[in-house]
Symmetry: none
DNA sequence: AATGAATGAGCATTCATTCAT
DNA sequence: GATGAATGAATGCTCATTCAT
């Protein structure tokens, strides 16, 4: 039960699901991994198990891509910018991964445990942005709201990059500026809404 | 009678798909609509047709919720804030709609035509935010990028509201402030710096 | 969903299961009934449901064969003899039925309800023998023990007849005499065992 | 070591099949025997082989339980009673064995050879009852009919005991009396009547 | 236009058996 | 001999779609 085969299956699943959706037959996945249809079930007893494993696999892959190698010290904004760039690059390098991540997340296949593990795996990457919370619109909001916002912006940016890969730099930078503008203080004194006041306290 | 039944089918589909995903059987949809299994196909010749129709139906429903009744004149930001509030309220009123919209969007079922029609339907709502483009990080980006960003922020906010409906006001406001911060110029002079310049290169 | 088709399925199931055991594919059953594979499940939502329905169908078939037309009045022994003859004839006419009945009974597929219903269905036939209870070895035993004994003797007799159909009369009569000897008083005074004494009280 | 493992496999098969029916996977049997899935096939080249071996194993186990230690001399009826008691006790001690025996017998897995060997193995035990043949209802019947009848009565008695183990004595005695009444001449003169005469015709 | 049974291709999963180590 | 992963045919069941009524 080689680890290599397990990985081959996860990668094949990524391709197949990106192409055909979650309805992608386990048989195609197995074939695409160069494995017999029955063999897949030696590694993942059910399709749900496979999807959960795949989700974690991809989340960890993303998290690793963001935080490794370590981001050099510096102002928070610059470290976040570097993390962001890596994040978007990860999505640009293989759009299937991001697509599959979102498909699985939107399904009802994820167990609570897997969801938790996924959050934990992303903690290193998320913290680059989470540290900005005390100052911005999310000051009084649950941390997950901020994290979800950053993830949504990243997803949107990745999609924009996917449409025009040559514009990677431009889209990535715009996305980052937008994201930073979203979660940080705007500084505009004229900002008079309820929440802003709360946020500034 | 035909139109009434068609609507019943679309509404039943919304419930069924929110519950069971896109794999929701046409038979359950029909049953849930109080229609026989075969009848559904008199209204929508294939499931794909149904999904496309449903997508448009929901997009138009959302667009109408945002722009009707007309938003009173005023500063752009205030009009946008009102539109945003309506948008989020729409999602809070029936989370199924938003969920189904995203499920269909993430699938490969949408035709190019439907996607286009959906964009067109949302133009009124989107324009509330699109007018901010010339000033912010999306100045040199395709308009769709900005629009997608706003939609992503709205989706994230709706989800946050869905988790805790009692916090509607707080989440909605935070979401709007974040969104406005994302797409507008921030007052910080240093923010007109590095990345924007890069984008223009 | 014609009743005729349902019956055809039950009869096909009887043949297929007699031939291939409980492992008989639902597809063969359907085909053998002149119905498509999927259609079977319009009548019986699961294979287990089919087996339970089949069990009851056969039990009722047997019970009807024994008690209809009504057995003419007369001494208990003569009425029992007539019932027995009908019972064995039923098994001789279509050995598959008896075989399938036993296969299902030995499996774990039967629900408690079905088992009960089966017992109830046989009550008319069983009573021909149950009335003998107060006098014989089963006097102090649960009624089911006697009933099971009679059924086991019938099964054995049917099998013997199946091996040599020409000997129907001989085997059937021997079986009945044996059965009556089993459940009735032997009358031999020399019988000194514990239970016998009880039985004679 | 080989023989020990073979026996372990047969015992594991007994438990697994009693629990799950003949569909019990060879893999569970192997695991339950503390043997690897592949190893089972070193001992039994196919599942059918295993089932045949198991059948014989159990039949011999039963036969040995009935005739060993030797039944002391005495009147036939008393010797038969002792054999019967041992038979039933065997079934009460491990109901799985009897259940599995019947499951295999009812299947189509048995080869003619195995069936023959099984009969031969039981000869010692059967003879306790077979000697009664010349006098009773089975006088003019094939010996196997009588033997099958006794086996069926034993099976029924064992099942009755399994339902209420505390009633072992009572059920066993009733079963024996019934069996003896089935195969022997009853003292009632009227019993030499109709059917026996018919049989001799 | 409505109904709902019939269809059959498609899918996840199981399992006896094989075979490289 | 022992192991246990690999295999792939087989199976129960689902579901979009069709069609006779």
């Amino acid at each position: 039960m080689s680890d290599q085969r397990r990985t081959a299956l996860l990668e094949a699943a990524t391709r197949a699901i990106a192409r055909d959706g979650l309805a992608a037959p386990t048989a195609s996945i197995a074939t695409e991994a160069g494995v017999s249809a029955g063999s897949l079930f030696n590694y993942f007893p059910t399709k749900t198990t496979l999807l959960n494993a795949l989700y974690l696999h991809l989340k960890r892959d993303l998290a690793a891509a963001v935080v490794e190698p370590p981001i050099p010290p510096g102002p928070l904004r610059e470290r976040a910018r570097e993390g962001w760039r890596r994040w978007i690059r990860w999505g640009a390098a293989d759009p299937d991964k991001q697509r599959v991540l979102m498909l699985i997340e939107a399904s009802h296949e994820l167990t609570a445990q897997t969801r938790e593990d996924g959050i934990e795996a992303m903690q290193g990457a998320d913290s680059l942005f989470a540290e900005a919370q005390p100052a911005g619109p999310f000051a009084d909001q649950p941390l997950e709201f901020l994290v979800a916002t950053v993830a949504a912006m990243a997803a949107t940016t990745m999609e924009a990059v996917a449409h025009e890969p040559a514009e990677f730099e431009s889209r990535s930078n715009a996305g980052f500026t937008a994201t930073w503008g979203a979660i940080g203080t705007s500084g505009r004194p004229s900002d008079t809404g309820t929440d802003e006041r709360r946020n500034q306290s």
